[in-house]
Amino acid sequence: MSLTTARRRAPTDWLPYLLIGPVLLVMVPFFVMPLAVLLRNSFSRDDPRLLLVSDRTVDNYLRILGDGYYANIFVNSLGTSFLVAGITLVIAYPFAWYLVQQSGRKVSVLMWFVYLPLIVSVITRVYGWMVITADSGIINSLLIWMGITDGPVRILFDRTGMTIGMVHRYLPLMILPLYSALSRLDGRILTASASLGATGPQTFFRVTLPLSIPGIFVGIQLTVAVVLSDYVLPLLLGTTRFAMVAPAIYDEAISMVRWASAATMAMVTIAVVAIVIVATNLLRRWLAPWSRGQ
């Protein structure tokens, strides 16, 4: 073969671009670019008459991080995130453990119940919860009828109602990683534990639970991230007296028309999620040093 022969291109040269191309076509214009715009806006200035004035100032950040009103929003959101993650963990763990013990057919049926809420629109479910949690709803009627309370207990349009809704909405996000982690657990390890003299609870706390730490952390990270950015549930089930980040950003941008400020809140939210994920990863690595690379 002569040296002047043109180099034949191996299919591997262009194949990667072909494979990730469609994703880039969606992600660059509809995710990366808006994010860049937000980042630029967060360093701009809000002006009552000119709306957004181009600038390179960190005033927005200083104001949002220093002002109690904004700090409160982030504290509310983070607190709710971890509360919801904690409650879903406690509910999901026994269920996932039960699921792992079952045979193929039963798992498929139970899994279908896990996925079902994801198929039904969240708006549809919200109106269902309203019927149940309203002042004149089923729960309050029952409480009053049983004589436990005189008047209705505030559930809907309050933190309680919002939290209940979020727990239900995001339960699958906790069940799935837990199920995946627990189903990878080798049953013979549990047998070995018993043969070495461990009781059932000892095996659970010394073997099963530590080995599910990676799954627990994935579940917590997913739940925290989605609760922090939830807009619909705080709006429809919550209260403005307990402000959450996503509706607050919407108010800032649409009602108050302070785009720079809203952009800054969005950037801070992203940073908070990133910090939570890095911190929980460090915690996981400390709690489960054996899980490196998992």
């Binding site: 013979r188 070995a192 043969s195 070495l196 003299g197 461990a198 009781t199 010394r206 073997v207």
Partner: protein
């Protein structure tokens, strides 16, 4: 053996079914204290089921298992103090070697000093000191195997169960570990049951071998005894390479019974039977020798060489003897002559190395 009063572990008439499948049927086995027993058989023969009944992973449907006179059946697994080494090792991936080994002592709430002392003892016994702070994922297969053994030894087991514990290792390491483990357990005087499908492993390891098939224990005895005096066709067939010939019993002058095959092989038999009974004559490949001319010493039978293969220490000859392909393994010394294909040869075997057993209904 079953009525042996000195039995340490005694298994009597144990049966176990899974639905329609009989995993174990009426198995009895007595094991003396400090004895090393190998349960040998093909996969699905029930050897692992028997082990799991002894270990407490499952309960027998009928029969009794007694250790030192106490029934084991009602004792939950975590109070049996039986050390189990699994084929997959089943090490705790989230614990270091040291923590794995100390686990059994920790859950028994032993004093920290006792834990440290006994862990150090077994870690040194299995030469694991350099790896104490590693996780199982950072160890080789052989090292993981050592950890599994150390972990089981640390609880000072009254009985040790090895479930295909060496099968996952490479051949050389496996043979090394067979010897090392056999020596270690013998020195420690720990009564051990090893489950394996590998004849060499069973013979290397066991003081006695129990050969199983289809949920039945066929024969129990020292390696040489089960090899030389097989009691059933299965045992004969499973240990070594065997060729069998259909034959019938005939009464010879003097009243003795002989087995005569269709190919003309004649064997005396000491077993019971009547003239005309269908039997089989079995010949082990390493009991046969070949010669180019008939000799008067042993029974000789003419055949032709169909194939010769080199297997390392032996050369395997496939001899066509009246339509039956007979396997004959001869020592493969360098420079030894090899019978060429299609050559006529004479098959020789000592009369006491031919086995006559009733035609089995396998």
């Amino acid at each position: 053996m079953n009525t042996d009063q000195s039995a340490y572990l005694s298994i009597r008439n144990v049966s176990k079914r899974y639905g329609d499948v009989t995993a174990l049927s009426d198995c009895s086995l007595s094991i003396a204290k400090g004895e090393l027993i190998a349960l040998l058989g093909p996969s699905g023969c029930g050897k692992s089921t028997l082990l799991s009944l002894i270990g407490g992973l499952q309960y027998p449907d009928t029969g009794s298992i007694e250790l030192d006179g106490r029934s084991l059946v009602d004792i939950p697994m975590n109070r049996r103090q039986v050390g189990i080494v699994f084929q997959s090792y089943a090490l705790f991936p989230h614990m270091t070697v040291r923590e794995n080994v100390a686990y059994g002592l920790k859950v028994r709430r032993e004093h920290p000093e006792v834990i440290a002392e006994r862990s150090a003892e077994v870690l040194s016994l299995l030469k694991l000191e350099p790896f104490v702070d590693r996780y199982p994922s950072e160890l080789s297969g052989g090292q993981q195997q050592r950890v599994a053994v150390a972990r089981a030894l640390a609880i000072r087991p009254v009985l040790m169960l090895l479930d295909e514990a060496l099968s996952a290792l490479d051949k050389n390491l496996r043979e090394e570990m067979q010897i090392e483990l056999a020596l270690l357990l013998r020195n420690a005087g720990i009564t051990t049951i090893l489950v394996t499908h590998d004849q060499r492993e069973a013979f290397t390891f066991g003081d006695r071998i129990a050969i199983m098939n289809h949920g039945v224990i066929h024969q129990v005895g020292p390696p040489e005894e089960v090899y030389r005096k097989p009691e059933t066709a299965f045992v004969l067939d499973f240990l070594g390479s065997v060729t069998s010939f259909p034959a019938r019993l005939e009464r010879r002058h003097g009243g003795g019974l002989v087995a005569v095959s269709e190919t003309g092989i004649v064997c005396s038999t000491s077993g019971a039977g009547n003239a005309g009974d269908a039997v089989r004559i079995y010949l082990r490949s390493d009991d046969i020798s070949l010669s180019t001319a008939p000799t008067a010493v042993h029974s000789t039978h003419p055949g032709t060489v169909a194939l010769v293969t080199f297997l390392g220490s032996v050369k395997r000859h496939v001899i066509n003897l009246g339509g039956v392909q007979v396997l004959a393994d001869l020592p493969a010394q360098p420079g030894s002559s090899t019978e060429a294909r299609h050559e006529p040869v004479y098959l020789e075997f000592a009369p006491d190395h031919a086995y006559v057993l009733p035609e089995s209904r396998r």
